[in-house]
């Protein structure tokens, strides 16, 4: 059997989502550029069926308004899903340089309505319409993407109850679980239109869970300000709270705002703007190339195998089919054991017969298919879509609570990004659980963090001969990295309890710094070395440094192919629990921190800088004093990049948040329990 995967020439990484990595690739038989999503099935407990569901929905779509599904196949424990490549990026990416004009919004909305008209006629509900899930082709065609939570109805008149979507964009009837249909998508479209106009959906500053309370209770959002009457009316029509009075996609296509919309080609302006914007902000990034990782899971340790030999001749089954007189206690213990055992793995067990209709969808609302903004410039570089995926993360709550309380599974653990790239998922899970706080921050390996980590390693390397400097380094570590990062994070955090928790952590570090700066130094060093010692951890967190050691530290940028896995990955999955108060847009901003970008540019231009950036932890490359000093300064700046060291402070936020969410969810059930069960 030939390997289907060989039909594709894998190119650079386009982006990452909670469900895997998306690569650009070329179909060798046709020369066509495609996007291929790699989903590591080992990293998830029970998602195979949902992925199948997504594929089933996508593969039955035949519309120019929907990202085209091509094929999917298995490669070992990875599922490859081949999709149409869309070079324009998502609307969320395109929003980064600035909000859309009304003219552009009208075009996007018209195309979306056409897409929805198609889907709805097919008996499909998208259920997660938002800017991040709207992709543009290079010539401006608008396509719906990410059918991760889409529903296929067998009867076009039937209704759905599943609670699914992304809170800010969710229609009131979806939140209330009172039964909803296609009209839910129209509401989300209205919110999306506002998002395109304002840069974020209404209530973006609110906690996503609070928004769920807010939407049904309050009058629908309205577009205020300097917009045309038609646009405002369009939004008002979409955002009618009673779905019966909300127009269908077909009706909305007749709206004046839509009828006056221009040609899709006009959307190329947005793409061009984004390219300009990127060109001004960043130097070309290092593409991350696809690397085969399948072999990494082979287990080589020779364990002594089970011994079966002497039982070759299967003994006659004793007494089977004869008397079957069991002692009562025997019966009891069988039953008891079975009861113990059957809860988890038998969804169809009689223990819960017919009561619980398992809430159908609970996949995290989105990401991943995002073919992301690789409007690659001539250099063939890739822009990471980190910023486009990251904002979705805060909404990663597992909203599996459907109609019944008993199916609640509120937060699912999301493997860290680095783990999805071929590590065993379970390892990553364990890492999450068992690692001390500090290394937790390193699990959230954003490129910058990693860079910093490498620098620190490097630094240690240099300094190790001069013993006695640990204290100085420890102080420096605190002053340059930990303290600013904590301060930054603190500034970004809204919840008072979370702020307090962060403040506590900050105090604790300050105390450590005052009392024992060496301790701080050793803490980080031992963390790094223990990470490095563990094969799996190090490949997860330090892999880029090891690969880069191999690849020569070439000072020219971006274009160097293969092996330069440098800018490792987008920011960490920040599950809701960890960063509950950041609205997507905030994350976007922070990632585009101008200091950071300009700094990176500088770094790239000096040979020293690039050696440093690539060869961190290598130590073999000679460096001048000046370079080192400059590095320190750079690190100071870098350390201000939010979301790095600060993460250790967030663990308790997670617990707190879980408690809060639980409480909130219970409240919701009490409140609407009658409706939900009725």
């Amino acid at each position: 059997m030939t390997d289907v995967a060989d039909h594709y020439q894998m190119l650079e990484e386009l982006g990452r989502g909670s469900f895997g990595v998306v690569y650009k690739a070329i179909d060798k038989s046709t020369g066509e550029t495609v996007a291929i999503k790699h989903i590591d099935l080992e990293s998830s407990d029970d998602d195979i069926q949902e992925i199948q569901q997504e594929i089933a929905v996508l593969s039955t779509c035949g519309s120019t308004y929907v990202t085209q599904y091509k094929t999917s196949f298995l490669r070992g424990h990875k599922l490859w899903i081949v999709m149409e490549y869309l070079g324009g990026g998502s609307c969320l990416d395109l929003l980064k340089p600035g909000n859309f004009s009304e003219g552009h919004i009208a075009i996007v909305c018209r195309e979306l309505l056409r897409g929805l008209e198609y889907l709805h006629a097919e008996g499909k509900i998208h259920r997660d319409i938002k800017a991040a899930n709207i992709l543009l082709s290079e010539n401006g065609k608008v396509k719906l993407a990410d059918f991760g939570v889409a529903a296929q109805l067998t009867n076009i008149k039937s209704q759905r109850h599943t609670f699914v979507g992304t809170p800010f964009w969710m229609a009131p009837e979806v939140i209330q679980q009172a039964g909803y249909d296609f009209k839910a998508d129209i509401w989300s479209l209205g919110i999306t239109a506002m998002e395109l106009a304002l840069g974020e959906p209404p209530h973006a500053a609110m906690h996503p869970m609070k928004v769920l309370f807010h939407i049904p209770k309050n009058p629908p959002p309205r577009l205020e300000g300097n917009y045309s009457k038609e646009f405002k009316d369009f939004i008002a029509k979409c955002l009618v709270k009673d779905p019966d009075f909300r127009p269908s996609a077909k009706d909305m296509l007749k709206h004046k705002f839509i009828r006056n919309a221009g040609k899709v080609e006009a959307l190329q302006e947005l793409i061009a703007t984004k390219q300009m914007w990127d060109a001004n902000r960043t130097r070309t990034k290092h593409p991350v190339y696809y690397q085969e990782t399948l072999n990494s899971i082979s287990q080589t340790d020779e364990r002594d195998e089970w011994v079966f030999d002497t039982v070759r001749s299967v003994a006659p089954k004793p007494a089977r089919g004869t008397v079957r007189s069991r002692k009562p206690s025997g019966i009891f213990s069988v039953e008891d054991a079975m009861r113990r055992l059957d809860v988890k793995d038998g969804p169809l067990q009689p223990s819960t017969p017919g009561t619980v209709r398992k809430a159908t969808v609970r996949r995290q609302p989105s990401t991943a298919i995002a073919q992301s903004p690789t409007k690659s410039s001539q250099s063939g570089s890739v822009r990471r879509i980190s910023t486009s995926t990251a904002p979705k993360r805060p909404l990663q709550a597992d909203m599996s609570f459907g109609n019944t309380g008993s199916t609640m599974r509120l937060f699912r653990r999301v493997p860290s990004d680095s783990s999805t790239s071929g590590q065993l998922g379970a390892d990553a899970g364990a890492a999450d659980e068992n690692r001390p706080p500090q290394s937790k921050s390193s699990s959230n390996t954003s490129s910058e963090q990693q860079q910093q980590q490498q620098q620190q390693q490097h630094h240690q390397h240099q300094q190790q001969p001069h013993s006695g400097k640990e204290a100085v380094l420890g102080r420096r570590l605190y002053a340059k990295a930990i303290e600013p990062a904590l301060a930054e994070l603190h500034a970004q955090t809204a919840g008072s309890d979370k702020r307090a928790a962060l403040a506590n952590l900050s105090d604790a570090f300050a105390h450590l710094d005052a009392a024992d700066p060496e301790g701080a130094y050793h803490l980080l060093q031992s963390l790094l070395s223990s990470v490095a010692q563990d094969k799996k951890l190090s490949s997860a967190f330090l892999s880029s440094s090891s690969t880069t050691t191999l690849s020569k530290a070439t000072p020219n940028d971006g274009g160097t192919p293969q092996g330069t896995v440098l800018i490792k990955s987008p920011p960490p999955p920040l599950p809701l629990a960890q960063a509950p108060n950041r609205s997507p847009s905030k994350l976007v901003l922070s990632n585009a921190n101008p200091h950071l970008k300009s700094h990176r540019r500088r770094q790239g231009t000096t040979p020293d800088g690039s050696v440093l950036e690539r060869g961190g932890g290598n130590g073999g490359s000679p460096e001048k004093e000046g370079g080192a000093r400059e590095r320190d300064a750079e690190r100071g700046v870098e350390s201000r990049y939010p979301g790095k060291e600060a993460l250790p402070g967030l663990e308790h936020c997670q617990h707190l948040s879980e408690v809060f969410y639980q409480r909130w969810a219970n409240g919701l059930l009490c409140r609407w329990g009658g409706v939900a069960s009725g």
């Binding site: 099935l41 080992e42 407990d45 195979i48 199948q52 594929i55 089933a56 593969s59 039955t60 094929t71 999917s72 196949f73 298995l74 599922l79 097919e122 067998t154 076009i156 008149k157 296609f182 077909k250 364990r303 195998e305 089970w306 011994v307 002497t310 039982v311 299967v314 003994a315 089954k317 004793p318 007494a319 089977r320 008397v323 079957r324 069991r326 002692k327 025997g330 213990s333 069988v334 054991a337 079975m338 113990r340 055992l341 059957d342 809860v343 988890k344 793995d345 038998g346 169809l348 067990q349 009689p350 653990r413 065993l424 998922g425 379970a426 899970g429 364990a430 890492a431 659980e433 068992n434």
Partner: protein, 370 residues
């Protein structure tokens, strides 16, 4: 679209459409196949509109009655099932909708408990339609639409029985209708049900995944039908299951079938099947090897089958022998087994339970109490 719609309103049209469709569908293979496919597509989409209505317009039950009647008379369901993979993309979807609606349709006067008329007819007199729908898994094109229809249909126990007990021309096969089924007869293994193993193991991902979903539904939905089926056909079924599905080269097939095996065994209605299964030393060996697979999720699913062997208070002699012989290894192995599942309390409890059970086993096999 609108013109179809209005034509669809006229009475004669509804009963005429199936005849037209039949005419076209039989000529799909011919020289004018492409043109016929297009015409057929139009007819099918009209039929769909009549059955489904639109968001704006309600359906007319009288028209549907006529249509269903005529579909049965023309034997159109069979023809469509056979030719599903030859139809164009949109027509395949329309066909899926048509099947679903027809199999669901009850005249307004009929009791909501009664079997829908068309389904009843198929089950009693034309079971080949269901068999042909299963054969939809022979082609990538027809797998998804056929699978969706099948999964809806087999919610009916009778329909599921048709598929489980199809055995060609053998006596007692469902090929002669529901009433002819002999549930106590050993099957030859050539019936349509047994082809699922092949589709699941060998099919492309989309086909295999869809076929497996249907297979799972077939084996888990009906708590009277399936245990009896499994009991009678125990050897054939588990031989195929263990050697084709559990040992499949496809990661998804392997993992999902181990999981399903655990579900089947732990289903109370399958108690007898379970006891029979866990008596076999051969089965335990397969299972213990799964624990040593190099993929964690395979190990994990394997564990949920393994636990059934160990938790069984009446272990057979061969099972006891294997466990006792490997006692020390198992204890060491289990103590470190999937250690990183620290947040899975149930798993941790069960693992502890198994360790205790194995530790407390007697040094020599003891004949079972039963």
């Amino acid at each position: 679209m609108a013109s179809f719609f209005f034509r669809g309103r006229t009475r004669t049209n509804a009963s005429d459409l199936p005849r037209q469709a039949k005419e076209h569908v039989t000529k799909l293979e011919g020289p004018a196949g492409a043109a016929k496919a297009e015409e057929l597509g139009k007819v099918l989409s009209q039929m769909k509109l009549i059955l489904q209505g639109t968001h704006e317009a309600e359906v007319s039950p009288e028209q549907i009655v006529q249509l269903v009647q005529s579909v049965i008379e023309e034997d159109l369901l069979y023809l469509l099932a056979v030719n599903l993979h030859r139809l164009p993309f949109e027509s395949r979807k329309d066909t899926q909708v048509i099947f679903s609606y027809i199999f669901r349709f009850r005249p307004p006067a009929a009791s909501p408990k009664s079997e829908p008329a068309a389904l009843k007819y198929i089950i009693e007199q034309r079971p080949q339609v269901l068999v042909e729908l299963c054969k939809g898994y022979d082609h990538k094109e027809s797998a998804t639409p056929a699978g969706s229809v099948l999964r809806e249909v087999i919610k009916s126990e009778a329909a599921a029985a048709i598929i489980l007990y199809d055995d060609g021309d053998e006596p007692g096969s469902s090929a002669h209708g529901l009433m002819a089924i002999d549930r106590d007869r050993l099957q030859s293994g050539h019936g349509i049900f047994w082809r699922f193993f092949e589709w699941i193991d060998k099919g492309s991902f989309e086909v295999a995944a869809d076929a497996f979903t249907t297979f799972r539904e077939l084996l888990t939905k009906h708590k009277d039908l399936v245990p009896r089926f499994l009991h009678v056909n125990f050897e054939l079924f588990f031989d195929k299951y263990n050697h084709i599905l559990v040992q499949s080269n496809s990661y998804v097939t392997k993992r999902q079938s181990i999981k399903l095996l655990g579900e089947i065994l732990l289903d109370r209605s399958n108690y007898n099947v379970m006891t029979e299964y866990v008596d076999r030393g051969e089965h335990l060996k397969i299972c213990m090897n799964l624990l040593r697979d190099d993929r964690k999720m395979v190990q994990y699913e394997g564990f949920h089958v393994f636990k059934v062997f160990v938790a069984n208070p009446n272990k057979s002699i061969p099972v006891q022998k294997i466990l006792i012989m490997n006692r020390d290894k198992l204890l060491t192995f289990l103590s470190q087994f999937l250690e990183d599942r620290t947040d899975d309390e149930q798993f941790i409890d069960e693992r502890e339970f198994l360790i205790k059970q194995i530790r407390s086993m007697p040094p020599q096999p003891v004949p079972s109490q039963r």
